[in-house]
Symmetry: C2
Subunit: 329 residues, 2 copies
């Protein structure tokens, strides 16, 4: 059994790991388009380059890390299957990656997860085990199921191969745009930003990487300022992909080293960005996917006169919620 | 003054005109992405390649033809300005193209056009002249304003340079996909399909080009079957870009020669396609932009086992209508 790595001083992934992940993902992940908008540039005074991971397979960047983590397992380990607990994009990324690689995938989901998400995960061929989130400890359950099956537990962000996989989004972006002054990346557990920062600093020396969190869930900002991981209550925000209570043992030191600052945006600013993407750029972006762009639009960090990469992380919102949020604004 | 060409046997544009248009548009129009969807392929049994002109500048393919037509005018003519009557995507395409080329643009719009569209057209720097569509003849008014100013009237579809410009969408698509068995294109006045058919037959010999109209507005289908242009009342359909009463003097002979068949889809089928694009492909597509895809999804023409190009023509729908249509379905 492979357990989630939680050493005191973990081995941190490096840019070479992102390059290896890019080679594994070539022809498998979609090389998502980089879009620009004259209107967005006029609004901000910047040159913004949007990396559209909402157009990635299964609708989010999470596919990159999940695929890279499963593909990096030794053959014998892989055959015993992989396991994850998630009710969101990581579950679907794992399920799809496992299907493509012929690896059995088990996903632990809370009993009260939306039926559509459970069905979508099963639709990719994964086995779904439901648990009661009020009476059962999902981590203990995950370790138990992994031990019984000899399966490898793949956490959603705090894993070197997951981080390296996510970093390929920034690698592709900068290959296309050339050097950037600033890279804005949303932040939950920190897997995307720590991987993207590895690629950004290697390919665009002098770039500043800035993380963006929802106001209600600014544990990353607090942690960066305090110099230690601060854990908060599950935050109340429409950015459901960033409702993580704390950074990880691997992501935190990477963020401390490679991320210049973390800023926050309000839910109202996220809705304004969703509206902009739908009306002007014809893109459906989920609230979490709007974090980085909202920081640019609302000038939460200086962008004027700069070449700015903006990661749009995903587009998995159901249309009823999408329309409800836009109607309420 | 240059008037709209309406000869009995007009000079028809050829593939070389599409190639020249592509050279003019290079670096100016967005080379829009070609997307695929495993789910769409599984639903239809085909390999579908979606050319995303909703991601074109100003949100629709119309920019291609407008820019090519203005850029093709002799320098002296150009400086006297261009004029168009349109309340839709052609107006915005002309306004943006004129702005980029430094050519004065006048747009005649009905007084009761949506304020947002009038403002958007003015936002691109065009002069907007409002007229009363019940008491004024817009064509006579257009000719009068054109004569007074020495400006060139650029019609929305029945013009060789407009047609050649629109054809660059299919040229780019097939450059990326290689040979296709079938190309599905929406059809209003026929500018897009006749241009795309020129490119398709040149680059993919043996391809069948199929037009798709809204059920309520099947004048093209009727015309193709009758062998002459049939004019209908302005049709009632949510596909507002296809509410044209008749094909043109240039588009009709091209369609007769190059288009194998014209099929129709219902408004409900358009809404189902809009939903698919938003939920599965994270794209905002206007109803007219869904015509070609809806024909594939609803198997209005055989697609199984075929490599099929599908033009998504535009994404200019306001969010309130978008959400209303999706909620009603």
């Amino acid at each position: 059994m492979t357990t989630m790595p939680q050493p005191a001083t973990p081995d941190l992934p490096a840019f070479a790991d992102v390059e290896r992940a890019a080679a594994r993902l070539k022809g498998i992940a979609i090389r998502t388009p980089v879009m620009t908008s004259r209107t967005a540039d006029a609004m901000t005074g910047a040159s913004l380059f949007f990396k559209c991971e909402n157009l990635q397979r299964m609708g989010a960047f999470k596919f990159r890390g999940a695929y890279n983590a499963i593909a990096s397992l030794p053959e014998a380990t892989r055959q015993r299957g992989v396991i994850a607990f998630s009710s969101g994009n990581h579950a679907q990324g794992m399920a799809l990656a496992g299907q493509l690689l012929g690896v059995p995938v088990t996903i632990l989901m809370p009993k009260d997860a939306p039926v559509a998400k459970i069905e979508a995960t099963r639709g990719y061929g994964a086995e779904v085990i439901l648990f009661d989130r009020y009476s059962q400890d999902r981590e203990a359950l995950g370790r138990q199921v992994a031990a019984e099956r000899g399966a490898s537990l793949i956490p959603p962000f705090d894993h070197p191969d997951v981080i390296a996989g996510q970093g390929t989004a920034a690698l592709e972006l900068i290959e296309e745009t050339g050097p950037l002054d600033l890279l804005l990346v949303c932040l939950g557990g920190g897997g995307l930003i720590s991987g993207c920062a590895l690629a950004a600093h290697a390919l665009s020396p002098g770039v500043k990487v800035i993380g963006v969190e929802p106001e209600a869930g600014n544990d990353g900002q607090q942690s960066l300022r305090a110099g230690r991981i601060i854990k908060i209550e599950v935050p109340k925000t429409i950015a459901d992909g960033a409702q993580t209570p704390a950074l990880g043992q691997i992501t935190f030191p990477l963020i401390q080293r490679d991320v210049a600052d973390i800023v926050t945006v309000s839910d109202a600013e996220l809705v304004a960005a969703m509206r902009f993407f739908a009306e002007r750029m014809k893109l459906v972006v989920e609230p979490t996917g709007c974090l980085a762009a909202a920081a640019a639009f609302a000038a939460k960090t200086p962008v004027k006169g700069l070449r700015v990469g903006v990661i749009i992380s995903g587009g998995n919102t159901d249309l009823a919620s999408f329309c409800r949020l836009l109607a309420a604004a």
